[in-house]
Symmetry: C2
Subunit: 149 residues, 2 copies
């Protein structure tokens, strides 16, 4: 089941890379249904707040608070502080992460706040990120607020 939903997130990440964008994708699932998918839009739309996870939540639209509280967020990459903040704001209880080899910042914060965090260590997720970081290191730094720009 994790695999089926993670594949939707990976499809988003792949599309992102094909657009020249940061290859992070996400899917929000509740009660066995996909409520939304999304991908990082920094390059495509010049967005500084549409990461994979936040774009996914925006695409899912306004939901009654209890729906978030029984949902799972699938994301190809370990969440940054912005996206972890969205998880905590909406009290999303479970986050399934494709990989955390290329970036990891908030898994402790999420766990301390009671979020169930699982890491699949998926080779394709890591491969997409490695390719992007190698080709566009400046954009990746910008996306995580790092570097001297």
């Amino acid at each position: 089941m994790h695999e089926e939903f993670m594949n939707l997130a990976i499809e988003q990440a792949r599309t992102g890379l094909s657009e020249g964008g940061v290859p992070v994708g996400a899917a929000l699932v509740a009660d066995g249904s996909v409520l939304g998918v999304g991908r990082n839009r920094r390059v495509q739309w010049g967005s500084v707040i549409r990461h994979g996870e936040t774009d996914c939540l925006e695409n899912a639209g306004r939901l009654p608070p209890p729906v978030y509280r029984r949902s799972t967020l699938y994301t190809t990459l370990s969440p940054c502080h912005l996206c972890a903040g969205a998880v905590l704001l909406y009290r999303i209880p479970r986050v399934v992460i494709g990989e955390h080899r290329t970036f990891e910042a908030t898994e402790d914060l999420l766990a301390r706040n009671g979020v169930d965090v699982r890491v699949l260590d998926d080779a394709e997720c890591a491969g997409l990120m490695r390719e992007f970081i190698e080709r566009f290191p400046g954009v990746w730094d910008e996306d995580v607020g790092a570097g001297d720009g």
Copy 2:
């Protein structure tokens, strides 16, 4: 100086309330210049990620990472987890808050991460929020992931 920039954020919050929206506004300032202003757009645009602070960052657009690191974020209301996450992601070193009487969730988190947090305890900021929460309690709950929807 704080007052001048906070007034821009308050103007955004006032406009938000006049639109029937959550009255939270923000302004991003660096090197004495205003880089962007914004307001919560949940009601106006059906957005779940455009809070006052994140809308402000989005309006400021893509910035070199060092610019964030010498900036100050003015916000009429104490940041939720999403907006605090944006501050941590971009390593914004200072947050000036209009009021935290009607909502407070992340000031400890920000301070623990080295962010300089100041609270002005502004009566108009609190008044705008009290009016909104009284008129639209369900929308306010939705905006902070609370309540039974």
